[in-house]
């Protein structure tokens, strides 16, 4: 019962614990990568943040589906908050990915890096989601339009990924390849700790933001009732 009422607190402390442990392990315990040396350690923040962003977009789409299904208005705020968190983590992915490109190849941006390009497309797509919400009157129609758009997002993710892979065929040959998960056991362990940490962080932010948005909405109702 306590856990249910204080979900945000529980998630935030879990996130703090896991991220602290994960980052310390990433800096002081994990051995250097054979290929990339020390700079590979950026992996333990970049990839978990990217996966968390996907998780947020997926969560937002799931809530959107629930909204269309049940027509319960509360799913609208939940879907909106999840997308909001997804955009924050998406921006983080872009920035950390850009730093990684700088370490590895000496440039701040590389069109050869699929993940990065995909996040740019998603960032544009979900920024338009905010524009859509801000320029539409609140109400059931806006809720459903946002939900449909959020659902388009999760279909766009794999389609865009495929498109970016195909585009490499004619834009330029793949010069940069980053090795897939050929990780030692210790690396994988640290990666999992960091992933759990960023997921918990996203959960904590989500719970907080959702509370804030709910208070905002109730205040607006209250104001209407008092006026």
């Amino acid at each position: 019962m306590w856990l249910r009422n204080n979900r945000g607190v529980a998630l935030a402390s879990t996130a703090a614990l896991l991220l602290l442990a994960g980052i310390s392990l990433a800096f002081y315990w994990v051995p250097d990568d054979a290929d990339q040396g020390f700079s590979q350690r950026i992996f333990y923040i970049h990839v978990p943040v990217a996966l968390t962003a996907y998780a947020c977009f997926g969560w937002g789409a799931w809530k959107a589906l629930r909204l269309l299904w049940t027509r319960e208005a509360r799913y609208d705020l939940e879907s909106y908050t999840a997308v909001h968190m997804g955009v924050i983590f998406g921006i983080l992915t872009l920035v950390t990915g850009s730093i990684w490109a700088r370490i590895s190849w000496g440039v701040w941006w590389s069109w050869g890096e699929r993940q990065l390009v995909l996040f740019l497309v998603l960032f544009l797509f979900y920024s338009a989601y905010f524009m859509l919400r801000y320029s539409t009157e609140p109400g059931p129609r806006r809720e459903r339009m946002s939900a449909v758009y959020a659902l388009f997002g999760v279909v766009l993710i794999p389609v865009s990924f495929l498109a970016i892979r195909l585009a490499e065929g004619f834009i330029h040959p793949t010069v940069f390849t980053r090795e897939g998960p050929q990780m030692a056991g210790s690396m994988f362990f640290v990666f999992c700790v960091c992933l759990a940490g960023t997921l918990a962080l996203a959960g904590a932010l989500y719970a907080n933001e959702l509370l804030g948005k709910r208070v905002d909405a109730s205040l607006r109702d209250l104001e209407e009732a008092l006026a």
Partner: protein, 66 residues
């Protein structure tokens, strides 16, 4: 500190900075909410002072001791 070390540290710090920025933005939002709540509370108090019944029902029914 080597260049690689600097960049890796920078990446982790960026994440920290964005989370902190979020906290700052949230603090502003909280301040705005607080202002609105106190405004509405004042409005409700004025209503009560002028003898009107409050138009808003209490959200939860008042519990009576059993």
């Amino acid at each position: 500190m080597t260049t690689a070390e600097k960049y890796v540290t920078a990446a982790y710090l960026v994440v920290l900075a964005v989370v902190l920025l979020y906290v700052v933005i949230y603090a502003f939002k909280l301040a705005r909410l607080e202002r609105e709540v106190s405004r509405l509370a004042r409005l409700a108090a004025e209503r009560r002072a002028s003898g009107d019944k409050p138009t808003v029902e209490p959200a939860e029914p008042v519990r009576t001791a059993t």
